[in-house]
Each structure stands twice: as structure tokens, then as C-alpha cells.
Symmetry: C2
DNA sequence: GCTCAACTTTGATCAGGATCAAACAAGACA
DNA sequence: TGTCTTGTTTGATCCTGATCAAAGTTGAGC
């Protein structure tokens, strides 16, 4: 009862899902879960919710990728989060979404209506505790990203993004990252630029530059191979043993 | 019992303090509190804790100001948080501090030993709930700051910082911000630069520029008057009715 | 008062990344 | 097959903010 799992790293493809929860919950709680849980799917490019909209559910990513971003009146946009499978979306206790959420690939969310979810949180404090841990992790990641945005060069920014994507891709497949690993870039050059506070041209140039130096290899425009992880990490400018930015 | 307050906005100068808690807690909880609570003071400039250090307490700011920051090997530093009175420091459930914490003015913290605090959280779920809310707020602030770091011009960055400081100074004195308000700049130009991802020279120039345009007035180098709040907000580049960044 | 240190301002120059512009690549579809 | 669309690369030029350098300001301590 005190280690209910919220995400796929712990319990399967859907956080708080029927099976994962029922293994540890009372039958009556299980009933309630069925009543308040549902799936939603979005096509690549579709908005999930706009900043300021009332948000009647909390959810987590089952499959696909979504971004969290803000846009200024003149169109400048900054991505503030990348939501991969097992990530949580939503704010128990809040009514309005603070940022835009957009599906960048086809996306499936496992949603819980907010009010019943909050009731469940109240009855099962372990959920709140787990949510606090996840939120603290996200906060640390956000703060680490502030260093990237505020102080790193374009080249270091690209290397940092690739390092994160490599790390998360590895953890998604439950393998440690290793030399020679390769993964699909889920983001367009423009989306990468929005994440890094750059223009898409600069992203393109710096990716090419890293390729020319042999730090990364490209198969087509979207598949990346990292021949030497250490070399990539050196390019990020971080400490060798630096804290992984999720 | 379900709205225990953590900070001065709600209950006085010390979050979770004796008086604030005892008004709503059982006597036996109170006993325990006395045993696990203590104050620490730091002089301006002193470090509170370094990134990676084991952290045996959680705490919150009673008076003074501290910064949360990261430094790269070559000395580039990025401030990732500004801790004002009532802000919480620490991570229940974590052992190592993720960032450097430094007192920028004389500082008093109200500390709780971590283990007993975690026990208390377990016995009193309202504390965890409150902590989750506070952490969600911090996460939103961090993400809003990412827009500042990633997409704003130097001038907009300075305006954004001044707007935040004005807002927080007002809320500290429990007044709404108003035209003509003035407040003390708690940060050196260098610290402002570290917060904004700029150099101190650029900060100095842009502050002067805002002064020349009449957006702010300066009494000495550290006291700022905002004759027209709306004008300042316009300079930030944010929506007029934009979500306040803390 | 003077001296010293810490902080701030101002100036001159440089460079990294933005901007503007055009060509290229690859898939979707008729 | 050709056309269209979307995404990417590459080139030329510009500009914001960094860098290097020096002078100005303020307050503490004597």
C-alpha cells in the first residue's frame, strides 16, 4: 500500500493502471479506478491543452511524446518540458493549465478525472508522496535546464540535448546507455531550437558541426548514433560525473 | 488539521513554527516539534550548503535572502532560484543537496532534522499536500524563468527580474504592488547577471537604459522605484495579464 | 580627513548566434 | 512521373551581448 507505482519504470505501460494498482489496492478502490480512468489519443501535432484552459483531468503519458511550452505575444516560444512515456501531466489542486501541451508524435494518455483523483490522493497518502517525489525530480530537471539555457554555448546546448535524449531513450528500453547506441530524434530542428533557446538554423549548423567532428553520426536526418558517450558528455561542458539531467 | 501552514504568508514569521503548528496540532506532535526544530543563522556571503553535500535538515527562510545556483567547471554560474522569507529549502526523501545554497544577505533559517520531519509528514498528510503545492508552484516558476533565459532580450530580462522583485517585495509586506512603490535590490549586478544569464556589464548598461527611459528610478545603486508598473510589465515582453512569475 | 576594497559604470572592440535568403531533400499524393 | 509540402542545410550579413579595459562611486576602517 505504500509503494504504489505511477509509471512504467515501475509497473508496465500505463501509470496507475488497473493492473499495477490493483496488485496493491483494496478491491473497493479498484472499482473506483475503473470509474474515473480513461484513455485519450492525439495525433502528431495536435494540441492537448492550451495554457490557461481549465484542466479537468490529470494524466500520464502511455506512449508517444508531448511538449510543454510557452509562447510570447510576438511568437517567440520556449519549450519548458519534454514529456516522455511515464511522465505525469497535471496539477492536483489546480484548475488551469499553466503551459501549452502539444503532441509531437502520436500520443496516448492515461487520464484520471481530477476530482476523483484528488479524493483518491486523500485516501491513499502514498500517491501524494509519490507525486511529490516526481515533482521534486521535475523541479531539479527544470533547474538543471536553466543552466543550459542561461550559460551554455550553442554547441554545448545541442550536446546536452542529445545526451538527455540518449539517456532517456536508454532508460525507456531499460538498458544503460552505451557507446554505439542509437536512437530516433523525436524533435524537428525547430522544436530542438525551441527547447534550447536557439534558432533552427543554428541547431542545424551545430548538429552538422558535431557530425563533422565525429561526436555523433547521423542515419538520415533523424536517427542519431553516439559512437563515444564520453566524448558527447565532454561536449556538454558538464562535469564528467555530473548529475544526469533526467 | 488539514490546512497546516508552512509559511509566513499564512501564519507569521516562521513556517511550521511552534505557534503556527500548535494552533492546529495535537499536543504530542507539539512535543516532538520542539525536539526537532532549531534555528540557524548565516552571514551575508556565507554558503549554506554545497551541491552534493549530504543534507541532514529541511528548512525554510525566516529572514534574509539566499540563492540557489550551479557552477560549471570553468566558472560559469547560473542562479536557479532566489529564496526569500517563507521559501522552503530541502528535499524530503533525498540525501544530497542538488544545488549550491548561499546567503546573499544575513540569513535565518528555521530547520527541522530530516528524519523526524519525514516521520511527521507521514503522520500528518496535510504537510505533504502543502509541500506538493509549494513544489508545484516552484516548478511553474522555474519553467516561467526558462522563457526569460531562453528567449528574452537583455532589456526584457532586467525588466522581468525587477517585476518579480517588486511583486515579491510587495507580497512580503502584504500589500498589492502599486505605482510609485520602491524596494531594495537585494542582489549585486553580478548576482543579477548570474540569475539572468548575462554579464554584469550588460546588467549595468540595461539598468541604466531603463532608468534613462524613465521606466525605473534609482535612489543610490540599490533602491529602485517603479513609477509606472504597467510600463515595467510592458518592458518584460509578457502578456499584460500574463501569469505572475511567483 | 585618507585609504582601501568592493561594487558599479562606461567605453571600445569582438564574436556568437540571429536574421534574411535561397537551395536542397524526401515523402505524400495526384 | 511531376508537383507540392514540410523539413533541412547552407550562405551572407547584421546585431546583441560578451569581452577587455579603465575609470568612477561608495562605504568601512583608521
Amino acid at each position: 500500500m505504500n509503494d504504489i507505482s505511477f509509471n512504467t519504470r515501475d509497473c508496465g505501460s500505463c501509470p496507475i493502471r488497473h493492473r499495477a494498482v490493483c496488485a496493491r489496492c483494496q478491491p473497493d478502490e479498484l472499482e473506483q479506478l475503473d470509474a474515473i480512468k480513461y484513455y485519450r489519443t492525439f495525433e502528431a501535432g495536435q494540441p492537448v491543452i492550451w495554457s490557461g484552459d481549465p484542466m479537468e483531468f490529470v494524466s500520464s503519458v502511455v506512449s508517444g511524446i508531448a511538449t510543454l511550452s510557452q509562447t510570447m505575444e510576438d511568437g517567440r516560444t520556449q519549450m519548458v518540458g519534454l514529456l516522455l512515456p511515464s511522465d505525469f501531466i497535471g496539477r492536483p489542486g489546480r484548475d488551469a493549465a499553466p503551459f501549452d501541451v502539444v503532441a509531437v508524435t502520436d500520443l496516448t494518455l492515461c487520464c484520471f478525472r481530477k476530482k476523483p483523483f484528488e479524493d483518491m490522493m486523500e485516501k491513499t497518502p502514498a500517491i501524494g508522496t509519490r507525486l511529490l517525489q516526481m515533482t521534486l525530480d521535475e523541479l531539479d530537471s527544470a533547474r538543471e535546464w536553466m543552466l543550459v539555457l542561461g550559460r551554455k554555448t550553442a554547441r554545448e546546448k545541442i550536446a546536452s540535448l542529445l545526451a538527455i535524449l540518449a539517456r532517456r531513450d536508454a532508460s525507456l528500453h531499460k538498458k544503460p546507455p552505451r557507446d554505439g547506441m542509437s536512437f530516433e530524434l523525436p524533435l524537428t530542428r525547430e522544436a530542438m531550437a525551441d527547447y534550447l533557446g536557439l534558432t533552427l538554423e543554428t541547431v542545424s549548423r551545430q548538429v552538422s558541426a558535431l557530425k563533422k567532428t565525429g561526436v555523433v553520426e547521423l542515419q538520415g536526418k533523424r536517427r542519431v548514433t553516439i559512437p563515444d558517450l564520453q566524448a558527447l558528455i565532454t561536449e556538454t561542458g558538464d562535469d564528467v560525473d555530473g548529475a544526469p539531467i533526467v
